[in-house]
């Protein structure tokens, strides 16, 4: 039996529908992320699970029991907010002990649990401080400790790292992952940051316009995005429209303009289908046009340095393509050949819009 099950969830603000019959299952001890840009319905989903928002249709089940009608205060979920939402008038210790106090736990026991939690997030020395005296990262850890102190059945996190600076964000996501794994916590995590999401999740649900576009492990999503939307999210920047053609033994991707064909290793998409070929910038090899290799001819428009390599914006018959190189740089206005690396190619079905 699934631990948490969302069935046919539909939600709307006024007339605007933000979730469309969404289904999702979270396993015991799993951290599942909802990834998407703002307005995709990820926070709405979290708020429905927490009980702060009523769904229009559908149900939420926890360990087989419907909880849609349970008041949020009785769901026993930990909630970590984007703005931390610490109680400004209470010190760190009382913030973390708040939930236990509501549960009428004895003072001794609260004290023990609070310091266990503060030890876990490495803030035992700050027990007496007020939230305003803490840095962003410390506040975030207090918020986490407070949510975990009630030994929640499920931990909900709404962009918990987005108010922190880049270096701290990377540190904190490792921290959250470590605590979640060590304590075997089931969690639902909302974020718009692809790298953060991948680094922290067991599984990821990529959301778009109130629907799940793809559900899978980070590795699956990174290497085989199912739709152009997901591909764009995980770093594919070149998209070429064409037709799949079976010419004897080999599969070819053919574009009408310029008569360009690209060999494809394999694909489950039927012959003669219209498809989109997607490539990351490092999946396009750049060669000087004298090299006589077969590929897409083009002209460099701009070349910029990225640190770890060079990025080129290349004008071709197929439109502007982006290609990265590691060491070699081709100056603007140079004629070049772009050679797609067949292992990096991904073919996507064309979506009817």
């Amino acid at each position: 039996m699934e631990f948490l099950k969302l069935q046919n969830l539909t939600a709307a603000y006024d007339q605007e529908i933000v979730l469309k019959k969404m289904n999702l299952e979270v396993k015991q001890g799993e951290l599942l992320s909802l990834l998407g840009s703002s307005g995709c319905g990820k926070t709405t989903t979290l708020r429905i699970v927490s009980g702060f928002l009523k769904q229009r249709e559908g149900s939420v089940f926890l360990e087989g029991q419907e909880i849609s009608k349970t008041h949020p205060s009785e769901r026993g979920f930990g909630y970590v907010f984007q703005n931390y939402a610490l109680f400004p008038h209470l010190n760190v210790e009382d913030n973390v002990g708040f939930g236990l106090k509501q549960r009428k736990v004895g003072r001794e026991e609260i004290n023990k649990k609070v310091f266990e939690m503060l030890d876990m997030v490495d803030l035992a020395a700050f027990a007496g401080k007020r939230p305003l005296e803490l840095s962003g990262g410390q506040r975030q850890r207090v918020a986490l400790a407070r949510a975990l102190a009630i030994s929640p059945r499920l931990l909900l996190m709404d962009e918990p790292l987005s108010n922190l600076d880049a270096a701290l964000r990377i540190k904190m996501r490792m921290e959250i992952r470590r605590i979640q794994q060590e304590h075997n916590i089931s969690a639902l995590y909302v974020t718009h940051d692809q790298e953060e999401c991948f680094s922290i999740s067991d599984r990821v649900a990529v959301m778009n316009e109130g629907l799940i576009e793809q559900l899978g492990t980070p590795e699956e999503i990174y290497s085989s995005p199912a739709t152009s939307f997901v591909a764009r999210f995980v770093g594919f920047e070149n998209f070429i429209h064409g037709i799949l053609e079976n010419r004897g033994k080999k599969l070819w991707f053919a574009v009408e303009k310029g008569g360009i064909s690209i060999p494809i290793s394999e694909s489950s998409i039927p012959d003669k289908s219209s498809v989109v070929l997607a490539l990351r910038p490092d999946g396009l090899e750049l060669r000087a046009s004298e090299s006589r290799k077969k590929g897409i001819p083009g002209k460099v428009k701009v070349a910029t340095y990225l640190g770890k390599g060079y990025r080129h914006l290349v004008e071709t018959e197929l439109g502007e393509l982006i290609a990265d190189t590691k060491d070699e740089v081709f100056a603007a206005h140079t004629n070049v050949i772009l050679i797609p690396n067949s292992e990096s190619i991904i073919l996507l079905p064309i979506k009817n819009e």
Binding site: F52, S73, A85, A147
Partner: protein, 262 residues
């Protein structure tokens, strides 16, 4: 780059002269030994200040003022706090806009309000002078109380209530133990602001006064009809000092931005 040219300096000076000038003059006049205006005074004294406290009429008017303001403020707070809370948490725009229109300090001319209360409430329902006066002042204070508390609540994100609820509080409990402690200074400021508004009010009060129930400003008004000595100047100084003191308290609890916001 120097942005403040001569025009700006002059205008700032003019503002100071206009706003502070009369108060400075009144101050000097209150401390003037002489009964006549000679500026600056030749001899300074506290004579007129003592006169205030010797005069029964001012002392009892001040007591009345105080009592009315305190009672009115309490009433305004009891009605205003839940109203401000629901106003700040509501998503319904129309409700917000209608109420906010009535929150504006000038929408109801004081004279109109006083007249309405006198004729249609106090006289029509045969209400006691005292009750009418307290009701009137509660009405003057209500918009201030609501506005200040709404502004104070806007600094308490709704998420901290949700955090409390997710940790096991009921909604009401969350309001009491999480929201209320965080708007304490706002409530204090609201009460003080309402209090001085009420204390200094003229136009509403003037209609509602009755035998034995007169507030300080009204007493001052009727005093200057007959006398023309600096007693009222001295009293004005005291009233202003009280107001400034309260303002400074508000400023230090709510922060400087409180008065510059609008």
């Amino acid at each position: 780059m120097k942005r403040s040219g001569l025009v700006l300096i002059v205008s700032i000076l003019l503002v100071y002269i206009f706003l502070i000038g009369p108060l400075v003059i009144i101050g000097f006049s209150g401390f003037n030994e002489s009964e006549f205006l000679d500026f600056p005074p030749k001899v300074y004294s506290f004579r007129w200040f003592f006169r205030i406290f010797e005069s029964d009429m001012f002392v009892s008017a001040f007591q009345t003022s105080l009592l009315i303001s305190v009672l009115g403020a309490t009433g305004a707070l009891l009605v205003g706090l839940p109203a401000a809370y629901s106003l700040s948490r509501t998503r319904a725009k129309w409700r917000r806009s209608v109420l906010s229109l009535f929150m504006s300090p000038v929408i109801v001319p004081g004279v109109v309000l006083g007249f309405a209360l006198l004729k249609h409430v106090v006289i029509a329902l045969d209400i006691e002078v005292w009750t009418g006066m307290v009701m009137g002042h509660m009405l003057i204070m209500l918009p201030y109380v609501i506005r200040v508390i709404v502004s104070s609540l806007s600094n308490v994100p709704i998420e901290i209530e949700e955090a409390a609820v997710s940790l096991g509080c009921s909604n009401t409990h969350a309001f009491l133990i999480v929201v209320l402690p965080n708007i304490r200074s706002g409530i204090l400021a609201a009460c003080l602001l309402a209090f001085i508004t009420s204390l200094n009010d003229g136009p509403v009060t003037i209609f509602l006064t009755g035998p034995g129930v007169t507030t300080l400003p009204i007493q001052m008004l009727s005093y200057v009809e007959y006398y023309f000595d600096p007693t009222v100047s001295a009293l004005s100084v005291l009233l202003m000092l009280l107001t400034v003191a309260i303002m400074i308290v508000i400023e230090s609890t709510m922060g400087l931005s409180f008065f510059t916001k609008k």
